[in-house]
């Protein structure tokens, strides 16, 4: 194995880092949040121009054909800026669309920045079990009729389309019987509630009460949507972990810098062994998480049992490490760690949200015990 970056990767990462430094100060983020907007439309256009929205898409869909590694490097760099834009949810939905096929030019529109589909898969009771789908789609005169609810749709308030999983056959946790449907965000009968999340981003909660869709809304084979769904959720998790890594790294070095300058009891905080060891533990958790992400990337190409296992392990690792690093950063900062205006609290809230997503680390551990 070779863990060194290629020249192109160095350029990609440097570009993203520079963008974050120049545009993503935390005061700007706070203003964006306070303005109530779901994402920055101008920033999204910049993402498109920088090629970031096209990065991992295949060339036949207007993409750059970059690897999962390229994608993870980009997202990690952006993660340090705690972006509010749904780059990761949209990229994940685009990869699911590519796998499912049949949505026309939608992936190309993603690459250009004009479409923002996101996955609407999790349900209030699914708790991260991939095959747990209670929403149902039934044949109707017009095509399909959708009933059910989807919770915590990441990027849901900024989306142009929802890629909705619904059961066309089988029982609620069966592997077979899940189909994917494309629902435009402006569908008149869609019960949509935009919800501010605890990390300041805006998601959505969707309700379908007999929502009518045309035949063409079904993507991929009827009752055979699981592979595309699995692909999309794998990209979603990969991206969220890479974002978390960028945030953890930022928390680590910000805390390091803080304890070097902050004085207590007549000396710098950094001279206390308890503080040093607390930071050493943060460093170890961060680098172990980075190692787990690399492990995931080494098996990421292609749907496989080993990828699923490593996805579960990464979920458990990031859940534990992310929470630890965030909480420890708050603790070592003291009062300022508790203030809304300061980035450390923002990072902690983001890492806590990510930890508990998709059933949390316990659900992931449960998946690892099944072998």
């Amino acid at each position: 194995m070779d863990f060194g970056l290629s020249e192109e990767q160095v350029l990609l990462v440097d570009g993203a880092r520079r963008y974050v430094e120049q545009t993503s100060d935390y005061e700007a983020r706070r203003k964006a949040v306070d303005s109530g907007e779901a994402y920055g439309a101008a920033r999204w256009q910049q993402f498109a121009e920088l090629g970031w929205l096209a990065l991992a898409l295949p060339e036949r869909h207007g993409g750059l054909g970059g690897s999962a590694v390229d994608y993870a490097l980009l997202v990690e760099a952006l993660g340090a800026g705690l972006m509010l834009e749904p780059l990761v949810p949209v990229a994940a939905a685009a990869m699911a669309l590519v796998t499912a096929g049949g949505a026309g030019d939608l992936p190309s529109a993603v690459a250009e920045g004009s479409a923002r589909p996101v996955l609407a898969h999790g349900e209030p009771g699914s708790g991260g079990l991939l095959t747990f789908v209670e929403s149902r789609a039934e044949r109707s005169a017009a095509g399909w009729r959708l009933t059910g609810a989807k919770s915590l749709v990441l990027g849901g308030a900024a989306a142009t389309h929802y890629l909705v999983s619904a059961r066309t056959s089988g029982d609620k946790a069966d592997d077979a019987g899940i189909s994917l449907f494309l629902v435009p965000a402006d569908h008149a009968a869609l019960g949509r509630r935009d919800v501010r999340l605890t990390d300041d981003s805006v998601g959505a909660h969707l309700a379908f009460t007999g929502l009518d869709l045309p035949d063409a809304a079904l993507l991929g084979p009827e009752s055979g949507g699981l592979p595309a769904l699995r692909e999309g959720m794998a990209w979603l998790q990969l991206g969220l972990h890479a974002e978390a890594l960028g945030a953890m790294d930022k928390a680590l070095w910000t805390t390091r810098d803080y304890v070097r300058t902050r004085r207590q009891f007549g000396t710098e905080l950094s001279t206390f062994q308890a503080v040093q060891h607390g930071l050493a533990d943060m460093a170890m958790e961060t680098e172990l998480s980075r190692s787990m992400l690399l492990r995931l990337l080494s098996v990421f190409d292609g749907d496989s049992a080993e990828r699923d296992r490593t996805l579960a392990a990464a979920k458990a690792q990031f859940g534990r490490s992310g929470f630890f690093v965030g909480a420890q950063a708050v603790q070592l900062h003291g009062g300022i760690g508790m203030a809304d205006e300061y980035l450390i609290g923002m990072i902690f809230k983001r890492l806590l949200l990510l930890r508990n997503l998709h059933g949390g680390p316990d659900m992931a551990l449960g998946q690892l015990t099944q072998d």
Partner: protein, 396 residues
Amino acid sequence: MTDLSRDPADERFRNEVRAFLEDNLPPEMARRNRQGYHASRSDTREWTRILHARGWSAPNWPVEHGGTGWTLAQQAIFDEECTAAGAPLLDIFGLSMVGPLIYTYGTDDLKARILPPFLRGEISWAQGFSEPNAGSDLGSLQTRAVLDGDDYVINGRKIWTSGAHEATMIFFLVRTGEGTRNGLTMLIVDARQPGIAIRPIDDIRKEHSLNEVILDDVRTPVANRIGEEGKGWGYAKALLENERAFAAEIPRNRNHLALLRRIARGTMRAGRPLIEDPVFAARIAEAEVEFMALEFLALRAMSDTDGSGPSFGSFLKVRGSELVQRLTQLQVEALGDHGAYLYSEQAHMAGQPQPAPGPEFAPGVWSEAMYRRASSIYGGANEIQRTLIAKQYLDL
């Protein structure tokens, strides 16, 4: 151990408290305070007034200063029942911190001016200790008071001052001389006067509870000094130790454990109630074990009325704060997707619909979990408590 059994008189007392709460706690106030959000000052003042009518507004004070004279067991029962019923927290800055200092070290004049209105719910306190360059390290405080005739004139900045924007009085620890242990003085200051600028600091929950307090030629009469000039360090230490003795937060942790169970029972996870997941159930059980041990450690600390045993204050502070953080974190985890939705404190307090969907127990859970991250920071961070244990308990 002459007696480890429970006193039947205590159980009678518990019934008396329960009956009182049933008759006197306004249901709407209970609704507001039963979840993770914190009591408003107006609820606290109103509740203090109600308790005062029964003579119960200072459960931990001796009778001669207007308190109840209750045993520590009775105080614990009272706290427990009030918390369970959803009564708002009382003003602990006044009850556990500055109040005891006033009746112990204050002049008769000061006692007469301050204690009765506080007991009637007419004063809200804030505590002004921390400064931008002094958190757990009180020795480096820089806010300075200079005597000018019968007044002290105070200049400086305090930070992380909880509730200063709603307080009517603030007790400050300020510098009146040099040196760490003999240069500090404790002063009571009217919060509503020119010269005091209060800058809100939104906290990690995006709520306004913290403040920066800028003092610009603020005057307070010498008669508002607690005890002697230059002895503030000793008073502050006594106050923080008193705070730590209650830091295990037994009533709060008991309530959090019950709420955690309620959430786990009411939340479906992949087709079954979360409480039936053996791994999550084991995590709850681990927290319960911690609680059961901690409760008895607190009882041991409280029963040591003559201070002859070792001081467990720092033990209770460290483990109580770690437990409240663990329980609230488990609650957020148990909520699943609803732990990621931001619910509104204002909507809850006003009884209005929430902006996010979710079960009735969801609002307030995340907010409390965030707020409790401060439990291991304030009153001397847990790192400092561990050093205190090493020095005081282990004599290292």
